[in-house]
Amino acid sequence: MQDTHHKPRPLGGRILTVPVVILTVLTLVAVYYVAVRFYLGIGAVTNVNPGYPWGIWVAFDVIVGPAIGCGGFAMALLTYVLNQGKYHPLMRPALLGGLFGYTLAGVAVLIDLGRYFNAVNLMVPWYLNTNSIMVETALCVMAYVAVLWIEFSPAVLERFRLHRVREFLERYMFVIIALGVLLPTMHQSALGTILAVNETKLSPLWWTQLLPLLFLISAIAMGYSIVAFEATLVSRGFRLKSEMHLLTSIARITFWLIAIFLVLRIGVIVLNGNFGLALEPTREALLFWVETILFAGALATLATDRLRRTERYIFLSACLLLLGGTFYRLDSYLLAYVGSPGWLYFPSVPELMVTIGLVAFHVLLFILFCKYLPVLSNPPREAAKARAP
C-alpha cells in the first residue's frame, strides 16, 4: 500500500554545511581523547575511580545510547508485527538512527573495556558464563548491530542499483525483521537485569525485580519518541513536509506506554513500602522526582487527541520522554548508584568530550546518510503545496 510519491530518495545538496563542520570538529576532539585513553589508560582521561568503576561512558554511551536507538525496534514492532504498513515512511530514518545508536554504543564499549583484546572471549564457548547477564546483553547487541545493517541495507543497494541482491534480500527480510524485534526485546530488558545484583548499591527507588520490564517498556517508548523527535527535526531542518498524521497515531501508543511504565514504576515502590524514601530531603529523592516529572510531563503533553494532533506538543512530549528515559538510566546506573564509601564521581572534561563526540558523530552520519542514500520519503514542502487540492 505504498504511495508511489512516498518512495525514499537521497536528499542531495551541499555536504559542507555549518552543522556538518561543527559536528566534524567535535568528533575529532573525541578522537584525540580516545587516542590518549588507549595510550595512557582509562585513568588518564576519565574520573572513573575505585568507588565508581562505571562512568558516563557506560551509563550514557552504552546504556542510554541504545535506548535512544530503539526507533528501528519500536517502528518494526508497529509496521511489521502489528502489520501497520502506513508507517513505512518512518521506517528507514528510524532504522538509521538505531543503526548509529547501536554501532556507536559498540564503539563506546571497546573504548571503555580495560582489556579490549579479550573481548573476543565472548565468542569462546569455554569462557562464556551463562549466569552473566552481560553475556546476553553483549551477544544480543552484537547480533542486533548486524541485523540493523542488514535491515538498512536495501537503502544502500537501491542507491547503487544492486536490485538483484536487494530482491534476494527482501525475500528473507522477514527473518531479519523478526530478529530485529526479538533481540532488542531481550537485551533492552537485560540492561535492567544487569542491575538486579545491586540490591544494596541501588536505592529501592530504583531497585526492583521489575527492572527488566521497566527498562523494556521505557526503551520502546523512547523508540517512538526518538522517531517523533527525528521526524520533526528532519522536516524542519531539511524543509520537508512533515509526517504529522503518522506521528499522531504513534503518540497514542506512546501515551499508553508511559502510563503503564509510571504505574509499574511507582506502584512497585508503594507496594514495597518504600515511597517514604521519595519524600525525604535526599539526592536520591530529588533525582527520582526530576525523572518522574519528566515522564509525567511527557504523559500530560499527549493526554488529549487535540494535543496529539499538534506538532509542537508531540515534539515537546518526545523531548521530555527522551530526557526522562535518559535520566532513568543515568540514575539507576550512576547517579543513584551507591559506590564505595569515601568516593565521588563526576565526569572529567575529556571524558565528557568523548561522549559528546560520539553523539556528534552519530548526528553527522545521520545527516550524511540522508543526503547520500534514499532514507527520507517526505516530499519537499513546495511540491507538497503545489499538489494540494
Binding site: 575505585p50 572471549n121 542499483r161 523478526a178 545484583v197 569515601g342
Partner: protein, 340 residues
C-alpha cells in the same frame, strides 16, 4: 530499607501479576530465585579481629611484597612523599589489602564507638556465593571448588569492570593507571598456599588480628571468643589456627558486637570479622542473609528458562513479519525506486 526477603518477594509478585506483565515469568522469578550456594567443606578463610588490630599496617606492606604490587601515593600526599612510603588510603588497582580507621569525637579509647576509634582491614571477603563470579561474562572470576578462594584470570578478563560494579564490598579493582590494566584483588595468597605457606597478611600480623585457617574452624574460634565475657584473658592464636609452633598472644577479650560478620551476611563470606564497634561504622555494608548472585541469576534464568520464551517469541514474530512483508511486497518486486 527492609531486607526481609519473603515479604518483599510476595509483594513484588502480586505487583507484577496485577500489572499483567508481558514478561509474566518475571513474577515467578521471586519464588524461583536459586538457593544460595554452600561453602566447600575444606574451604579456607581468614578471621580478622578488629579489637586485636593495632593498625601497624605490616599486613599491607607484606601484601604488596607478596603480590608484587607497587606503592601508591595519593595525589594529596605527593609533596612530601616521593613514593618511598606506600600510603594507599583505600583499595585500588594496586592495593589488594588496606587498613582503615574509624574515628569518632575525641578518639580517646580504642574499640569504642563514641569518642573512640577502631581499625578495619579491607580486602576480598571471598564470598561463598560471590556476585563477581556470577556477573563476569567471560569467567575471569573463579571460585575454587576446594578452597573456595575467589581468583582472577587475566587471560579471560576483558576489563568491563562489572565485578567491581556489582561487588557489595567494592573489592575488585581495575588498574586504571596503565593503558592495558587488569583487575587486582586479594586471592588469599593462593601462590603461597600452594607452597604450604599462609597468606602474607596473616603471616606477619603481630597480634593475631588476621588469622588464617579452615573456614569451619575459624567460625568456631569466632563463636568461642563471643562466648568469653569481656575483660577475661584469652590466648589468641597467631598466623594459622591450630599451628602450635607460634606463641599465642594473650590479651583481654573486648566487648564485642554480638555477631560474626560474614557468617550469613550476603550469603556468607570466607573472611570473618569480629569488632567492638558496629560493623557498618567500619564500612562493612549491612547485607541481607542471602546472596545477590542467587537473586540476579534467579531472575535471569526464570525469564530464559530452557530458552522457551525467546524461541516462542521468535516463532510468533516470524509468523507475523512473514504475513506483513508478503502483504507489502505482494506484487512483483519493483525494479527501481522512481522519483516523484
Amino acid at each position: 530499607m527492609s531486607l526481609n526477603r519473603r515479604a518483599f518477594l510476595t509483594r513484588s509478585v502480586s505487583g507484577a501479576a496485577a500489572a499483567g506483565a508481558t514478561l509474566g515469568a518475571q513474577a515467578e522469578a521471586a519464588t524461583l530465585a536459586r538457593p544460595d550456594r554452600a561453602a566447600p567443606p575444606d574451604a579456607v578463610g581468614i578471621l580478622y579481629d578488629s579489637t586485636l588490630c593495632i593498625g601497624c599496617k605490616a599486613c599491607v606492606a607484606a601484601c604488596k611484597a607478596a603480590n608484587g604490587a607497587p606503592p601508591v601515593v595519593p595525589p594529596t600526599l605527593t609533596d612530601w612523599n616521593s613514593g618511598i612510603w606506600d600510603s594507599a588510603e583505600d583499595l585500588d588497582g594496586r592495593t589488594l589489602n588496606v587498613i582503615k580507621v574509624y574515628v569518632n569525637g575525641t578518639r580517646e579509647v580504642k574499640d569504642r564507638e563514641i569518642d573512640g576509634f577502631a581499625f578495619v582491614k579491607r580486602h576480598c571477603l571471598h564470598c561463598i556465593d560471590p556476585s563477581c563470579v556470577s556477573v563476569c561474562p567471560v569467567s575471569a572470576m573463579l571460585k575454587d571448588p576446594v578452597t573456595g578462594i575467589v581468583s582472577y584470570d587475566q587471560d579471560a578478563c576483558m576489563g568491563c569492570r562489572y565485578c567491581s560494579y556489582a561487588c557489595p564490598f567494592g573489592v575488585p579493582q581495575f588498574d586504571l593507571s596503565v593503558s592495558y590494566g587488569r583487575i587486582n584483588k586479594c586471592e588469599m595468597c593462593s601462590h603461597l598456599q600452594a607452597k604450604g605457606e599462609i597468606p602474607a597478611c596473616c603471616d606477619v600480623c603481630p597480634t593475631g588480628a588476621s588469622l588464617f585457617g579452615k573456614l569451619t574452624d575459624l567460625q568456631d574460634e569466632a563463636d568461642a571468643r563471643l562466648e568469653v565475657s569481656a575483660g577475661a584473658a584469652y590466648a589468641f592464636p597467631r598466623g594459622r589456627l591450630g599451628d602450635e609452633t607460634r606463641p599465642k598472644h594473650t590479651a583481654a577479650i573486648a566487648s564485642y558486637q554480638n555477631k560474626v560478620y560474614g557468617k550469613k551476611d550476603g550469603g556468607g563470606t570466607q573472611l570473618l570479622y569480629l569488632s567492638a564497634v558496629p560493623f557498618e561504622k567500619l564500612g562493612l555494608p549491612t547485607l541481607p542473609q542471602y546472596s545477590f548472585a542467587g537473586m540476579s541469576e534467579g531472575i535471569q534464568h526464570t525469564i530464559y528458562k530452557w530458552f522457551i520464551a525467546p524461541i516462542v517469541l521468535l516463532g510468533l514474530l516470524l509468523a507475523l513479519t512473514y504475513r506483513s512483508t508478503r502483504h507489502h511486497h505482494g506484487g512483483p518486486a519493483q525494479p527501481s525506486p522512481h522519483k516523484s
